[in-house]
Subunit: 378 residues, 4 copies
């Protein structure tokens, strides 16, 4: 094959590294219309570990220093799957090196870092270097269909959104301490981890901006067994927000890592003036739509549904990991056409502004925080 | 039959009057264990209308002045089904006349009136005169079972509650003005009408008190066609509250008359340390319970489930109106045994304190309002 | 009240007697448009038992001999709620005495008796005496709506029906013997008890006749503890049928008293050339309809849905017992207008012809039994 | 990498070729514990088409003559994804050449061919050459869990199974003729295509054999537009079977390509003496289990559920295509350990014996066909 290929490096080989490797391995088989990729390097700190992972996941090489990788001419795309506190440094460097960059969500751990990263992305973009933040749920066919239906007026003007992202992996108070529960490393708890997906979906589905926010945080288990005895949990276990959108909709948001029985329960209901629509991530292939006759369960597996023509016949359902393959295809198409992809780093920053307002409201007795100058109050 | 019967008068013959008449007509057939009743008088303002209703619903007589009815010796129970602004006057008078009193929810339209009514009920109670507020959803077998399961520790200590009561009868902006949309008459909108049920269920299910509240109100359709042209809507179309319970649980509440597609959607999910439980009024005979193995749908129609031994074999589902028959039986049993029934007027007042705090928070930029001295903050 | 009333007598005061008493007690309150009734006599064999039941359920009198009741001039309607082997004698006598007759399903225990009963009903009908068989599920709003939708072509021509009526009250092999498990008394097992409802619904929903039948019966627990030791079960525990309809549809039917976990699970799915429709009795207020966009759950509680204008606002669900009240109203309307009601005794007989064919097929190695001369075979 | 790899050739590059290519591309990434594979050749008749597919799906080469491929020393595994009438010839030759063979279901189009193929597989097996038939639904975690639960006695002895596999891609009578509707090429219609999966699952879930069968076939649309005008459809559009299992269970089966609204609806319910269990392919990640407390929805995504440790964290759902990856891993493990994999060619033949009996019963007025000498009749 003499077709030019885009060389890819993935930084990080844990959970997200595995999921992204899967995407890069499969994107060509389902998306022959985008540039082909060469899976060149998987990067990680532990030489033996990353070498084994590279072999298993199908990478040509492994490496331990991402700086070296950025200097290689045969790397066109850098995919950042590290913990959040490393995103800023790697992504800035990669953009500076002229690499297209995909950064896992959240964009960074702080507003300041994200603001810098957006500035870097804007500069790079003018030179044809693309960037994207990994809100992969935008690639779920059912949610993409929901956005299309809303944009096409199928439920009228949105008035109310009821959203939650509930998990339960911390429900047991004796579950051990981890870096995800330390503010210094994780930045935030359920709010940043789960709430970022919810806020991104609000913006994506409604094509609107959050105008004001009120929030509350709770840490139900204030300390957990650490390596050296009991250690304080310094992030939230659960968070609540009430958000006003710029066009007048009101959204309630709840996120939790303690909602007994919910494994990956991102549930969203949108109520408009002439219809309503709903989704649950635990039933990823389904959407419900009510435009007057009752709640219709749509099995979103038809070839004319978003992102589905690449896959299987109707009724042959997709899984969670397919979203990353679609995400990779979107980035490759953007690189090919020179059209910046969404979600952009700006989208990532916008989400963080909202989460920051939620935290500030929570810290000040739930006082409403305005994010846009003129907030409507229905 | 020479058995002494308790004479009943119902004040009001509209929607609630029809539902309560149905209860008094049937209570004896399903509850032979409580005192029998004689359906003596149905009271309403329109002589022809109330006479026709009395005939249809099976009352011996009709009357147009409730004061007269209170003077009759053959009336033992007064059941107040009027609009809320009349509750106070009638109930005070009925208690003063030594009648047992059932008052539809909400107890009254104002905190002041409710406080007075509680005082009157306390006095009457010491003389063996019983009183009850009509939160009939406490009589839904599934919700009563949920309370039992929670009380028995089946889901552990409650951390999060996610509750909504969604209807859609006002979704159309051209729906006409009515007294329910005028603050002077209705007191409140969705908050009072639907939120009162939700708050009562929180207290009932968790056996706990609300310690703090944050709230938001929205009127999406600010004016509607009135008899003399456009008229301002002076109550809320939808309301949101975040409530802290005294033992540390956090409850999110949303109520709306504009949630497209929801007809009578009171949905409650309770998450505890070792299980979770959920209910949806549109599937009144079902409860789900998760105590570790997955979400179990329980068809609450077994004879050993609460309130069900009076009715039909397993799988023979009940309807919405059966709750009022159970409610009537509870009041009659209380009269018979001299044990004050629940929900009491105090329960009705407690709900109104919470709704009042929600309104005050909404009016002050969502500031948190404390209802109990020492509020825990998880 | 000087309105002439129709006097009613109910024969039998067990499960069905209780359900029918409830209907007669309430029909006037919800159906002022039909003639009023006077609940005159409840009839049963045990003097004390029937007297107590009459008091409880609101009957003016009780009696122990139904012959006497048939001679009373103040009785206009005789409602037969006895076990099946008594239906024939009572109904024949009641019709001969000029009484309108409602007979619980199944019409009788034998084809011969049912054939005679139909002849008697035809004769009486010409004299303005009405008769009806108690397939009360025709009065479920969701099923009546399904029939209307099918009749109006909403799912096109029906090709396939998938129906089951599953209960589990006999799942335990140590459950004791009862008259329902003796062929001499009960006539049949699950087939007659549950299968009769299914076959009636097939005829009702499709407005079509069964043309051929293939069947299989199973008795999983061949003997059970009787009063004098183990006793043989002489009816079926479960039954299966494949039925061809005259216009070419094929229906599969399964009924069982041993389907672990199903309490009252009458589930029907109808697939047509341009849509499909489904129902589950455990969710009595719901119907699903698919006419191309997905499966729409319809909450059948709107006032323009069948039978619902008499009851409550949208979303206020009905229970199982409401069907009998509607059934009573249908009979009263028929008496009032002189228009014979459905389901008629002929409907009852038609169902029994089908069940008989199923039994004959089961007895002959599943051979297909033709019920109509020219059976189409798609 | 010096690890020896097993060379794979896939014959056929249409729908199944794409799905199997996906499996071979990914199996190593999720199953490092089995031998690694080299994707050597994709085989098809059209040189340009198969070359493009090979490039897209990640094969080293393409070829047009499968005979050549069988002669190559670097091919260890032959995966037959052609239409059914070619299975016999290719698989016989591949086994003779000492290749491990995976054959898509159904094993072949005729009992005779399948019987020969089993004989060949038995011979090859003794020489350590493995063979497997592609009933991939055995690799669905929920169904594998169901089998385990049943085997462990969680629902007691099975009495009744209610199974259907419903699709609707032929519901429109104007859909064109295709080879799948011609008996000469396809062998059978819905019965062979969908019924084979159902019968395999019966045998898999119950670990039992079919003892007798009764069947019915229907062709609702007898002719369709062909390339030269209307052409007769010579296979069934839908089929029904009642099957007796050797240990006394009775299973009803319905399959259809005309069930409006069902896209890929393989639904199975199993009722035992102490529990019941159910599955629906359109919700592939879920199982329900009732062992007494109600119907529990189990999200089958835990790492201790079958086949799931290879994939993602709890709640991160799988899709339809993941089953083929698991299937490939099972074959590779079998080759590695020398333990014959299931489902074997014998399993494929057993399914065809049942489908043959269904066809014979349908052709003889539904007469019961015995498959095992002594069939129990509950």
């Amino acid at each position: 094959m003499t077709t030019p290929q885009l060389g890819v490096a993935v930084i990080g080989y844990a959970f997200m590294g595995k999921a992204h490797s899967n995407a890069w391995r499969n994107v060509g088989a389902f998306h022959p219309e985008v540039p082909a990729v060469a899976r060149r390097v998987l990067v990680g700190r532990d030489p033996a570990g990353v070498a084994a992972a590279a072999r298993q996941y199908g990478w040509a090489e492994s490496a331990t220093d991402w700086h070296d990788v950025l200097e290689r001419d045969d790397i066109d795309i850098v995919d950042v799957c590290t913990p959040g506190h490393l995103h800023h440094e790697i992504a800035i460097a990669a953009l500076a090196a002229g690499k297209h960059v995909l950064v896992e969500k959240p964009l960074t751990n702080t507003l300041a870092q994200s603001t810098e990263l957006v500035a870097a992305a804007v500069r790079a973009r003018s030179a044809g270097v693309q960037s994207m933040v990994g809100f992969n749920y935008r690639c779920i066919p059912a949610l993409a269909l929901a956005r299309d239906l809303i944009a096409n007026g199928r439920i009228g003007a949105v008035r109310e959104v009821r959203a939650a992202y509930l998990q339960d992996w911390l429900v047991d108070a004796s579950a051990p301490m981890s870096w995800r529960l330390r503010r210094a490393e994780a930045g935030s708890g359920a709010l940043g981890d789960l709430g970022s997906h919810v806020v991104d979906q609000l913006r994506f589905l409604l094509d609107d901006e959050v105008a004001w926010a009120t929030g509350h945080l709770a840490t139900f288990v204030p300390e957990r067994p650490g390596p050296d005895g009991p250690e304080a949990v310094t992030v939230d276990d659960a968070a609540w927000a009430l958000l006003g959108l710029s066009r007048g909709a009101v959204a309630s948001v709840e996120v939790s890592r303690m909602a007994f029985g919910r494994k990956n329960g991102l549930a969203i209901e949108v109520f408009g003036t002439s219809g309503s629509i709903g989704f649950d991530l635990e039933r990823l292939n389904e959407l419900w739509l009510d435009s007057g006759a009752g709640r219709t369960r749509v099995l979103v597996t038809e070839s004319d549904h978003p992102h589905l023509s690449a896959w299987w016949p109707p009724g042959h359902v997709l899984g969670w990991d397919h979203t990353f393959t679609t995400e990779a295809a979107k980035l490759l198409a953007a690189i090919d056409t020179g059209t910046p992809p969404e979600p952009s780093f700006e989208d990532g920053l916008a989400v963080q502004h909202v989460l920051d307002a939620v935290e500030r409201s929570a810290a000040s007795g739930h006082a409403r925080i305005d994010l846009l100058p003129a907030s409507p109050t229905p």
